[in-house]
């Protein structure tokens, strides 16, 4: 169900611009890894290289290796579409398909993967919505449009949509930054439950959130604007927030820069 991610020597470009440089790390299965760092340091770019979404951006290009267990996601003959089917993603702004009902949103990924019987679809949709702690709120209006839900509900709908296809890894790109504190709490609780089934990587600007939800934390930084972002250190979250081994990490976490 959950797989390990092994990144080595990963560099990503936007055209000629080098956005992140030489990143290596390991993400353990069934754990939550948080990426923190200042804006523009390449956290989101790095996250998007993990499911080959980076190359969708015009000029986007990647060098290096990303192993999912033992399979290189950037190996020759690997289909990026197949990669994205095993590595799900949740975005910063909730983005349920506005033309689809709640049910169809959750079923969207399954329908891509092949034909299912109506009863199978019903089961998976119910299970996924329950898994995203949304079932009780929407079970009476599965045929209403997903865009009619509140922001927090929409984000949980997107999580339900992502987990419906049973991915190996779940990537979350600042999933709470557009949400109010109560919805944020709901998502954080959900992350705690989901990590028992999935490998989770989350980008966040909220350091308390990183401290609350993650097992490991990676700190990214860039030496100057226009320079590529780098991984400064990755360690157990507790250690990063109490006694980091690099001074820059401590400065960032405690609010001191430079």
């Amino acid at each position: 169900m959950a797989k390990r991610i092994d990144v080595s020597g990963l560099t990503a470009y936007y055209g000629a611009h080098r956005a992140i440089e030489d990143i290596s790390m390991t993400v353990e299965p069934r754990s939550v890894t948080a990426f923190i760092g200042p804006s523009g340091c390449g956290k989101s770019t790095f996250l998007r290289t993990l499911n080959r979404m980076h190359e969708v951006t015009p000029g986007g290009r990647v060098e290096g290796k990303v192993l999912l267990d033992d399979e290189d996601l950037y190996g020759t003959g690997v289909d990026p579409v197949a990669v994205r089917r095993t590595i799900g993603m949740v975005f910063q702004r909730p983005n349920p398909f506005p033309t689809m009902s709640i049910f169809d949103n959750v079923a969207a990924g399954l329908r891509l993967n092949g034909s299912y019987k109506k009863s199978e679809l019903n089961d998976v949709v119910e299970k996924s919505l329950k898994g995203a702690n949304l079932w009780n709120e929407v079970k009476d209006r599965l045929n209403k449009p997903g865009s009619g839900l509140s922001g927090g509900q929409q984000q949980r709908l997107c999580i339900a949509r992502a987990i419906a296809v049973e991915p190996q890894v779940l990537l979350m790109d600042e999933p709470c930054s557009a949400l109010d504190p109560i919805s944020t709490l709901a998502i954080e609780d959900l992350i705690g439950e989901l990590k028992e089934r999935f490998t989770i990587v989350i980008v966040t600007h909220n350091m308390q959130q990183a401290a609350r939800v993650s097992d490991r934390t990676a700190f990214f930084n860039l030496s100057a604007v226009g320079q590529p972002g780098r991984l400064i250190e990755i360690d157990d979250t507790e250690r990063i927030f109490s006694n980091p081994s690099v001074q820059a990490t401590e400065d960032y976490i405690s609010g001191r820069f430079g």
């Binding site: 015009p58 702004r93 983005n95 398909f97 009619g148 949509r161």
Partner: protein
């Protein structure tokens, strides 16, 4: 509870703001520039309505003059003899020809236009997409008489091959039966109209597809959708109402096209089940070819036929509105 209905009324009500403005107007505190602009815009609005009403009254009046003297049934008669005593004329052939040629044009143009628009916005590299879009813009600028000349000189002679093929394989349906007459038929007109309305449908669809939200395309991509699946899940649903509007613009042109049809068609006043038989006519073509030699009464009769075309256009537009509004809460507009 019912958040969905609340959300569909997305634009928040503005009454407090407008009453504030009204209060200020009542106190006379508006600036001269505001007053002048208000007068100008209100004046143009009223002028537009007055002109529209005047045209409608004039057309209806003259049409009524003609229809009241018509000896045949105006809606069903298969002839157009306004100079006879009593005059007998009807629009059945024209309505049939107008609708059939427009349907052929839409059936051919809309899928191709949507395909070109998708190719430009989602498949072609930018270096290729730009020039293609430019060429299609140019096509829209070609005058219709030029299309008509091209149709009569180039297209018509080259249609015999297609007609023979259609007759051979699909002649049994009756729709594609060909007696070997000159290919100045409804099908040729439909094809020519399709070429003429292709640019406008393509351009409007292209703009709509270009605006399809990136975040929904990424949502589909992240689920493991192929490029076509991304288009099907996020781009087409988003662009649906826009494509319908674009098609309506094209349809309007196809229904009203005059010179190109008049140049290509060999008009007769009868209806043939086969699209390949020469003959038939359309409202606009009939008006163009008869208006110069028509008596005052003949002109009134032609105006009456124009009114029917107007009504058909209105009905088609109304139907399109209904289709667009039917699933409004599912449209991308409230995302």
């Amino acid at each position: 509870m019912d958040i969905s209905t609340q959300n569909t009324e997305a634009p928040p009500p503005t009454p407090p703001r407008s009453t504030a403005v009204h209060k200020r107007t009542a106190r006379g505190a508006t600036r001269p520039g505001d007053r002048i602009f208000l007068g100008l815009s209100r004046g143009s609005g009223i002028l537009l309505l007055v002109i529209m009403a005047a045209i409608a009254v004039f057309l209806t009046y003259r049409a009524a003059l003609a229809i009241s003297k018509d000896d045949a049934n105006f809606l069903t008669a298969f002839e157009w003899n306004t100079n006879l005593e009593p005059p007998t004329f009807g629009i059945a052939v024209l309505a049939f020809g107008t609708v059939v040629s427009a349907i052929i044009a839409m059936a051919l143009a809309v899928p191709v236009a949507v395909g070109i628009a998708l190719f430009i916005t989602h498949y072609a590299p930018r270096r290729l997409g730009g020039p293609i879009a430019y060429v299609i813009d140019l096509l829209a600028a070609v005058p219709s008489i030029v299309y008509g000349l091209w149709g009569a000189i180039v297209l018509v002679p080259h249609m015999t091959g297609l007609f023979g093929w259609l007759d051979h394989y699909f002649g049994w349906t009756g729709i594609f039966e060909w007696q070997g007459g000159a290919p100045r038929s409804m099908l040729t007109v439909g094809i020519l109209l399709a070429i003429m309305i292709l640019p406008i449908i393509t351009n409007v669809s292209r703009e709509v597809f270009r605006q399809a939200p990136q975040m929904h395309q990424e949502a589909a991509l992240a689920l493991g959708a192929t490029r076509w699946e991304v288009i099907r899940m996020s781009v087409l649903p988003f662009g649906r109402s826009g494509v319908i509007s674009a098609s309506m613009l094209g349809l309007g042109r196809a229904l009203g096209e005059t010179m190109a049809v008049a140049t290509v068609l060999s008009p007769t006043f009868d209806i043939s089940a086969s699209l390949l038989d020469p003959g038939g006519g359309t409202f606009a073509q009939n008006i163009a070819s008869k208006f110069n030699e028509a008596t005052t009464f003949g002109q009134d009769a032609l105006i009456a036929s124009g009114l029917v075309l107007f009504v058909i256009t209105l009905l088609v537009n109304g139907a399109a509105r209904m289709i667009i509004n039917r699933r409004k809460e599912y449209s991308g507009a409230n995302a």
